[in-house]
């Protein structure tokens, strides 16, 4: 199931603007890696390069290597569609498909790809909703529209939708920033359960959250506005938050930044 990601010498651009520069890191399988850093430092951009969503943005392009258990995601002949099936993503704002029911939202990945058996679908939906801790809340109204759920439920619906296609890696781009503390707690608990099965990368602005859920933490920073963002350091979460090896990291997490 879970796979390791090795990134080396990665640059990403928006048109001629370099957004992130020379990033190299390893994301361990079956663990949670958190990205922290100030706004605009390229955390989200970097996250989106990991499943080739960056190139969906007009003008977005990438240099460097991202290896998934030895396969280069940016190698020639690699189909970005297959990459995204292997590496799922959850976005900052819950975005269930408004035309689909709760059931169809979870089944969307399979249905839209056209490769599914009707009999399997029920099992997959139930399993995914249970995996996202949402089953008990929605099992009686699977045919109701997904946009009728609360924000936290919608976000868990999006997680269920992402894990329904059985990805190897799950990328989460500030999944809790639009949610209240209770829903945030539900999602954090869920992340803890999901890491048994998936490799999880999470971008967050909430440093307590990074400290709570992640095994390893990466700190990103940029030297000035308009300059590309860089990876400052990546280490065990405990070390980052107690005794980081770079001064900038300590300044940032202790609030002395800038």
């Amino acid at each position: 199931m879970a796979k390791r990601i090795d990134v080396s010498g990665l640059n990403a651009y928006y048109g001629s603007h370099k957004a992130i520069e020379d990033i190299s890191m390893t994301v361990e399988p079956r663990s949670v890696t958190a990205f922290i850093g100030p706004s605009g430092c390229g955390k989200s951009t970097f996250l989106r390069t990991l499943n080739r969503m960056h190139e969906v943005t007009p003008g977005g392009r990438v240099e460097g290597k991202v290896m998934l258990d030895g396969d280069d995601l940016y190698g020639s002949g690699v189909d970005p569609v297959n990459v995204r099936r292997t590496i799922g993503m959850v976005f900052q704002r819950p975005n269930p498909f408004p035309t689909m029911s709760i059931f169809d939202n979870v089944a969307a990945g399979l249905k839209l790809n056209g490769s599914y058996k009707k009999s399997e679908l029920n099992d997959v939906v139930e399993k995914s909703l249970k995996g996202a801790n949402l089953w008990n809340e929605v099992k009686d109204r699977l045919n109701k529209p997904g946009s009728g759920l609360s924000g936290g439920q919608q976000q868990r619906l999006c997680i269920a939708r992402a894990i329904a296609v059985e990805p190897q890696v799950l990328l989460m781009d500030e999944p809790c920033s639009a949610l209240d503390p209770i829903s945030t707690l539900a999602i954090e608990d869920l992340i803890g359960e999901l890491k048994e099965r998936f490799t999880i990368v999470i971008v967050t602005h909430n440093m307590q959250q990074a400290a709570r859920v992640s095994d390893r933490t990466a700190f990103f920073n940029l030297s000035a506005v308009g300059q590309p963002g860089k990876l400052i350091e990546i280490d065990e979460t405990e070390r980052i938050f107690s005794n980081p090896s770079v001064q900038a990291t300590e300044d940032y997490i202790s609030g002395r930044f800038g």
Partner: protein, 359 residues
């Protein structure tokens, strides 16, 4: 509650007021009274000055209404409220000005059109009826309009939809800009020019005769830019997040467009197409040039002259006698009802397909 310690203070004008938050207001019924009053005064002035145009009476009343409500409000309520009243009353007056012609048009058409509009009128042609003879109907014209508009849709809707999808989902750079520019230019093509174009190309150059199909080609030229424009706007309204959500599930782009983007926008797209249909269903000029019109039933749109509703109205009115006028008004009423039914159907589809929000 011990926080409410604000003491009543006087306004700078000297008038004591119970609280700073409260202000003098005109009573709630005042706009209606002002409206009725200025209408009465307007009619009075009209009668006294012996103005024969009722339009003038109405305009005097409208100006009185706007002016009186502004000055009354300015003296009682103060400047800001007066401006608010001014804007509100201007909006109401403009609304009425817009509604008056619409309502009178519908009233007139129903009054004159219902005279001969019945089952017989809808199911018979003009084949054996002379121009100055009562009887006859619009069956042949109804068939002609349905077929010509249907064929025009068959050409224009797929091309228009695909163009809009290209412009929103794929188009970048010069080509997209050029296409947008020419779509804008096409929007402004007068219908007679579209008719002349097909006439010179299809009938004069290629040597085909007049037919419903030739008319449909001209109508599709008029319809296409409207479909492209409205579809484009609707597709742009689909949040990018939905596209990204679908792409991130490993769904190819074409399937994302087909299964996520289009269903989300389908309500608006349908409305846009129906508006385009309503526009071309009333076109006379290209039909006159290319379909020619005929008093007999011809249900084959690919061969020989056909009739159509707008052309029928024009020809009946041209005949210059009372039975012709009656038939023209009845056909006009039928055309309006036809377009209204289309609009209602479109709204039904839009509501049925629109993203659901219920719990």
């Amino acid at each position: 509650m011990s926080i409410t310690t604000v003491k009543p203070t006087g306004t700078p004008g000297g008038k004591p007021s119970p609280s700073d938050l409260k202000a003098a207001r005109l009573p709630r019924w005042s706009p209606y009274v002002i409206a009725v009053g200025s209408l009465a005064v307007g009619c009075g002035i009209g009668l006294a000055a012996d103005l024969d145009s009722r339009m003038q009476w109405g305009l005097i009343a409208a100006i009185l209404f706007v002016g009186v409500s502004y000055f009354l409000s300015a003296t009682v309520e103060g400047g800001r409220q007066a401006k608010d009243r001014l804007a509100t009353s201007v909006v109401w007056v403009m609304f009425l000005l817009a509604v008056v012609p619409l309502a009178s048009l519908i009233y007139e058409t129903v009054k004159r059109g219902s005279k001969v509009l019945d089952g017989y009128f809808l199911t018979h042609s003009m084949g054996v009826v002379a121009d100055d003879e009562a009887g006859g109907g619009i069956y042949h014209a109804l068939i002609g309009t349905l077929e010509q508009v249907g064929l025009a849709c068959l050409i224009a809707v797929p091309i228009g939809l695909l163009t809009a999808i290209y412009l929103v989902e794929y188009g970048r750079g010069k080509l997209a800009k050029t296409v947008t520019f020419f779509v804008d230019v096409m929007t402004g093509i007068p219908s007679i020019v579209a008719g002349l174009f097909v006439l010179s190309f299809w009938i004069l150059m290629l040597g085909f005769g007049p037919s419903g199909w030739a008319g449909a080609m001209a109508l599709s030229i008029l319809m296409m830019p409207v479909v492209v424009r409205s579809t484009e706007e609707m597709l742009k309204l689909v949040p990018n997040e939905l596209r990204e959500a679908s792409l991130a599930l490993g769904v190819p782009k074409w399937r994302t467009i087909l299964k996520v983007v289009l269903p989300t926008a389908i309500g608006g797209i349908t409305t846009g197409v129906m508006l385009a249909v309503a526009r071309i269903a009333g076109e006379t000029a290209p039909v006159l040039l290319l379909v020619w019109g005929t008093p007999v039933i011809n249900s084959d749109p690919f061969k020989d002259a056909q009739a159509s509703l707008p052309l029928y109205i024009y020809q009946q009115y041209q005949s210059g006698n009372q039975v012709g006028y009656d038939r023209a008004w009845a056909a006009a009423l039928a055309l309006i009802v036809f377009i209204m039914i289309l609009n209602i159907v479109a709204r039904g589809i839009a509501r049925w397909k629109a993203p659901k929000t219920g719990r």
